[in-house]
């Protein structure tokens, strides 16, 4: 499964009634809380074998599906 589909599947648990576009700001949709933030970090680490470090804690890395894909690809290629 490609990165986009995996992220989309994970997010669908939290954004059930919303069809999220790749460029939608998930923070603006109102469902994001601290618990979700932690779950998202764990998901990205486990699913894509990357380590989210302190320097990566920038909301812009996680704001949209597109930015998350970019983040994962950057980490994987680093």
């Amino acid at each position: 499964m490609e990165i986009n589909a995996k992220i989309r599947k994970f997010l669908s648990r939290f954004f059930k009634k919303h069809e999220i576009a790749d460029t939608d700001d998930i923070f603006a949709l109102g469902f994001v809380n601290s618990l979700f933030a932690m779950q998202l970090v764990m998901f990205l680490e486990k699913e894509f074998g990357i380590a989210v470090e302190t320097k990566d804690l920038d909301f812009n890395n996680f704001r949209t599906i597109e930015s998350m894909i970019q983040f994962v690809e950057n980490k994987q290629s680093a």
């Binding site: 994970f10 601290s34 618990l35 932690m38 779950q39 764990m42 998901f43 302190t54 320097k55 804690l57």
Partner: protein, 377 residues
């Protein structure tokens, strides 16, 4: 699906149990009575390496897997809730540094924390801020190469013996985590005595009146203090508290079974009365159920599953509510003896209740678990 401990985990369990019976249980009543964590117990936790149980071997820790770590907290919790609290808050600091600290912070602090050369404590709660952690009033401001912290922290477990604190303060209105050493100028602590339970937890109130720390003591990024640093600490905190409840409940059960066999009324052991049997049955079934939730949480944590966070909420909620009920039944089975400090039961009962308050109250758990259900189901 296999639900059983591995051979290695069983070995650890036997080692933990033997240590607790020999080196913690004999001190537990004294710790409760004097409200001081006995130095011999702290020394034992240090010598066994258990103070570094949650940290990787690379930094001198035991590097236990999550389930073994849980079993350690279960066994220590069986012996003394205050001592289990030490494992919890000490580990929260070490894990925060491991997860969010700089390499320099890891090299500086983790080997000492792992070896127990220094003790760590977690400074989030304040006199007017408990569950509402976003509204902490302690502040941090930038001043040259330093941060300057001011504010009061309350109910700080191990605050009287800790060498380094993970302090949460508002920096420009954003909760942020800092390491504050107990030796810093203008940092003072006062013991909090007279607690109902967990009385050996060395609670302190901390006062910071323009405490100056170097910028290198920032943990994580500015503004990530709650969302990432505190929440990951509290995840470990809840996990270890949940397991501690299992151990405490197990202590209640073992004492109650022994008492039911030996206590004679109406010419026979009270264990032969069906209403006593009912209580014993409810105790053992509820303990086993909560323990399974803890095992599940541990398994999910071990594989890094995002569901582990909510499963840990679930395990902590179930275990803390369970142990309050189990300890109450243990008092009931022991009758008058359960109400007197000649038996450990009244201590178990007082200690049990504390678990419904710390690391998120029962009601905060109910709110969060239900809210998640409503959002995701």
């Amino acid at each position: 699906m296999i639900i059983e401990l591995t051979e290695k985990q069983v070995e650890w369990q036997e080692q933990f149990r033997a240590f607790v019976d020999k080196s913690i249980v004999p001190y537990a009543a004294q710790i409760d009575k004097e409200e001081i964590l006995h130095p011999a117990v702290v020394a034992g936790m240090r010598e066994t390496g258990y103070l570094g149980s949650m940290l990787p071997q690379a930094y001198g820790g035991l590097g236990l897997d999550e389930v073994s770590l849980g079993v350690l907290n279960e066994e220590v919790g069986r012996g003394c809730t205050s001592t289990r609290n030490l494992l919890t808050v000490h580990g929260m600091v070490g894990l925060a540094i491991l997860r969010w600290g700089t390499q320099e912070q890891k090299d500086q602090w983790l080997p000492k924390l792992a070896r127990g050369e220094i003790i760590g404590a977690f400074g989030l709660s304040e006199p007017d801020v408990g569950s509402d952690a976003k509204n902490i009033q302690t502040t941090a401001v930038e001043d040259g190469d330093d941060y300057v912290l001011s504010g009061t922290k309350k109910w700080i477990t191990m605050g009287m013996i800790a060498d380094v604190f993970l302090i949460f303060a508002q920096f420009e209105g954003k909760p942020t985590a800092f390491l504050v050493e107990s030796t810093r100028a203008n940092f003072t602590r006062t013991p909090i005595r007279g607690m109902m339970g967990s009385r050996g937890s060395m609670l302190a109130q901390l006062e910071m009146d323009n405490v100056r720390i170097p910028k290198e003591n920032l943990v994580g990024k500015l503004g990530t203090g709650l969302s990432h640093v505190a929440l990951s600490c509290l995840d470990y905190g809840r996990y270890t508290v949940a397991w501690g409840c299992i151990g405490l409940a197990q202590a209640c059960l073992e004492a109650s079974v022994a008492y039911a066999k030996s206590r004679q009324q109406f010419g026979k052991p009270i264990g032969e009365f069906q209403l006593i049997q009912k209580m014993l049955t409810e105790m053992v079934v509820s303990i086993k159920g909560a323990r399974l939730l803890c095992y599940r949480s541990g398994y999910l944590k071990q594989i890094g599953d995002p569901d582990s966070i909510l499963e840990t909420w679930t395990a902590k909620y179930a275990s803390s509510v369970m142990v309050t009920k189990v300890a109450g039944d243990a008092v009931q089975i022991h009758g008058g003896n359960g109400c007197h400090d000649g038996y450990p039961i009244e201590r178990y009962y007082r200690d049990a209740k504390i678990n419904e308050i710390i690391e998120g109250s029962t009601q905060v758990h109910e709110y969060l678990i239900a809210r998640n259900l409503l959002q995701t189901m």
